[in-house]
Amino acid sequence: MEEIYAKFVSQKISKTRWRPLPPGSLQTAETFATGSWDNEENYVALWSIGDFGNLDSDGGFEGDHQLLCDIRHHGDIMDLQFFDQERIVTASSTGCVTVFLHHPNNQTLSVNQQWTTAHYHTGPGSPSYSSAPCTGIVCNNPEIVTVGEDGRINLFRADHKEAVRTIDNADSSTLHAVTFLRTPEILTVNSIGQLKIWDFRQQGNEPSQILSLTGDRVPLHCVDRHPNQQHVVATGGQDGMLSIWDVRQGTMPVSLLKAHEAEMWEVHFHPSNPDHLFTCSEDGSLWHWDASTDVPEKSLLFHQGGRTSAFLSHSISNQANVHQSVISSWLSTDPAKDRIEITSLLPSRTLSVNSLDVLGPCLVCGTDAEAIYVTRHLFS
């Protein structure tokens, strides 16, 4: 990891997301969106890492990612997702869900659609109206699912003014993140260590399945589904642990891997190379987990700045009989094979790394130290 560029942007970055590439495109990612938080004025911004004719000759630190355009956002940006090539959906701490439209011709952003009271504690219209932060979004064109501190789940469609479906009191605690499992099922994680699977075909306010960490009810902050094997799910918790779940069996994680020293804010499988996984944390670290089988002489090692030291992992091998022709390397329970190489990607410890995203060979992450880091050579 030699080429990772940092740029200080004068705002704390809460979210970073690559713009998806058109299907079948052979390009590499070059545009990403960021959201800020905890500023007097927060912004959604679009950045480009495209070449600008090498503005800077000395190492290219400057000018490596350039601001394309930005727009004021009411409240902290709690989550941000690309809906399609042009549209960005944001979750606000004010409970509002907004769709922004990017106009590439004159490089501007505008509000395309807005659900202002998507999440609230006491209803809109009542005198004691109080909003609740929206904490997570997942998009699957044309659907948008949002979750919030009010424990509510909303299903929106881009062309509908009202929510298509709302599950009030879906959770007694705060919902932190949501992802699609397989349509029309979604999976949420909450602040008491539970994963809940919801099926929009079913009426009622009950999840179709609950999985949970045993004992300590450690809050879960993030979730990502394996891009090819839809039953494999990774979550990250308040204690920095990475859990791998097989939602088809059992109600407990397949493995628990000791990872960061503080809250794991995001976990992402690499979309086209899912043996690779990326996590970031409040402790200011960003890790690359490599579980691919073709790593020569694999061992559970932790690389940082050239030094190599043994890294301990606690893997619970409680489900030993996964009879599948293709077994995901993440579910492998053979101790000899159960080895993951971990690399720390940031040169030095910083304040919390709040968000990351990977696409092809490119990675972007944003921190509370108001820096955006970008690398275009992940696997070199």
Binding site: T135, Q194, D368, E370
Partner: protein, 667 residues
Amino acid sequence: MGFHQFGQACLELLTLDDLPTLLIPGVNSKKHQMCFDWGPGEMLVCETSFNKKEKSEMVPSCPFIYIIRKDVDVYSQVLRKLFNESHGIFVGLQRIEEELTGKSRKSQLVRVSKNYRSVIRACMEEMHQVAIAAKDPASGRQFSSQVSILSAMELIWNLCEILFIEVAPAGPLLLHLLDWVRLHVCEVDSLSADVLGSENPSKHESFWNLVTILVLQGRLDEARQMLSKEADTSPASAGMCRIMGELMRTMPILSPGNTQTLTELELKWQHWHEECERYLQDCTFASNPHLESLCKIMLGDEAALLEQKELLSNWYHFLVTRLLYSNPTVKPIDLQYYAQSSLDLFLGGESSPEPLDNILMAAFEFDIHQVIKECSIALSNWWFVAHLTDLLDHCKLLQSHNLYFGSNMREFLLLEYASGLFAHPSLWQLGVDYFDYCPELGRVSLELHIERIPLNTEQKALKVLRICEQRQMTEQVRSICKILAMKAVRNNRLGSALSWSIRAKDAAFATLVSDRFLRDYCERGCFSDLDLIDNLGPAMMLSDRLTFLGKYREFHRVYGEKRFADAASLLLSLMTSQIAPRSFWMTLLTDALPLLEQKQVIFSAEQTYELMQCLEDLTSGKPVHGGSDTQQCQDDDIETTKVEMLRLALARNLARAIVREGSLEGS
């Protein structure tokens, strides 16, 4: 520009006249009395309704409350990059291991100092871009003035680095000072490009200016190349140019890799100096005033140097050039003498020294405390003094100096800076690490500040909690969790409220929330938030009421699973162990009714006696209502019916149980 100098008053008692005044637009302090209140980083000011004069004429007062910010620079978008980037360097510096000694430690510290300076430079360049791009002239001017402040900061820092951190000895000292001057008087590069880019450089109007500046900065190789151009075009002066070029080439200088001693160098230099002197005496350059002036400069002639005031632009350039050509092996201790006389000669009594001059002079005098004091007064932010002082403290240069209040100077300045960060709505996270490295008052300051951070989302609260938990600030953890739990209760999010009170280990609040759960159950007949209550685990033990809530819910679950015997004994144990609050006993007894009515006998005779005992305890303790309220009467009626039904059911169950137990024993 703020009033941070009030803080300065602590360093040295200033007279009232010295204090700068800040006028608040719109406030009339002549007519009205003012009131104010201090905050950690800000001050509130407003007019009171009291008139100053006795006559009570009604003068409309200013309706606003003003917030006066102490450290305005914290709010600059560009400077935020400086704060964030230098935070990383600061934390790195604190972790430099104490064992590191001697050379390696020094080179580390110099590296850190250079990192700080490169951050200042990057910031300066960006500020410069912003100033150019500024739309209105007023803000353009403001940014430009920021650029010059940053430039001055870097100038001071660089000098401090040479004198206090690098501690360059005689010889290398001058080389460092030359680099320092070259870095900060850099118009020469654009001038050089201008001249060389012209058709005939030696005929360019600034040609001799350029050559002179190059000589003044000791860039003799470049000056020589320039002279060769002049020699090529005007054959008349070619001979003179050659001789001058030769003088330039042969000037002895200390090169870093060279092993020659200072004495050897001094001898060679003396020899070279005499040669220059000879050429001047011989009137070799008499026909070319430019070359003659150059020769005088190279002899260190003060008058000749002062003639170039314009090109030198400031006294410290004059000082360094003067040293270069008159005393290249100047000892650090002699610097202050040369500096003072250079300042006096350069200003020539026409103008008085500016704050920057005083700061640099204090540095040349090796008076670190004076440098820091002057900087604190002159600069509008604490960033500079806090970081510089901290670095110098790591160089072990400040140990002896203790203030008569609070802690030492390093800590005092760091606390001021960090408080400024905490006053900012977003930069508070940076402040935490600065407080961490203030051993004496950092912890209490952090405790005071951290509780005042507004928590608008749980995510932000979690970040604040993490800071507190890492530092074992249990009191603050409790109070933050309590705030969140209260908020959740207000929003009717009982599950959340319970989670937060469990995290805070706040038994009283857990009891309160549990009561709310039970009340809701009594009203609605079903439990909410089962996902939480069913998964309480060991956390259930936090408070008796919470234990009861968990166990009571367990009773319902067991009952739902038709494990009646287990359900019955659990229900009874809730009452006999006194976990259940008295007010809830009637509900529990009513819950026993369907169990009593089952076909098979569930409560044993002994258990039935216990249930009866509970019922009697409950009813005998009840005060007799004297009210004639109809509603009250109705309630009482229902209550009485309930008790009678229970008595009947219990009696019947007892009968069945005795019969059954008797027959079991008999068989």
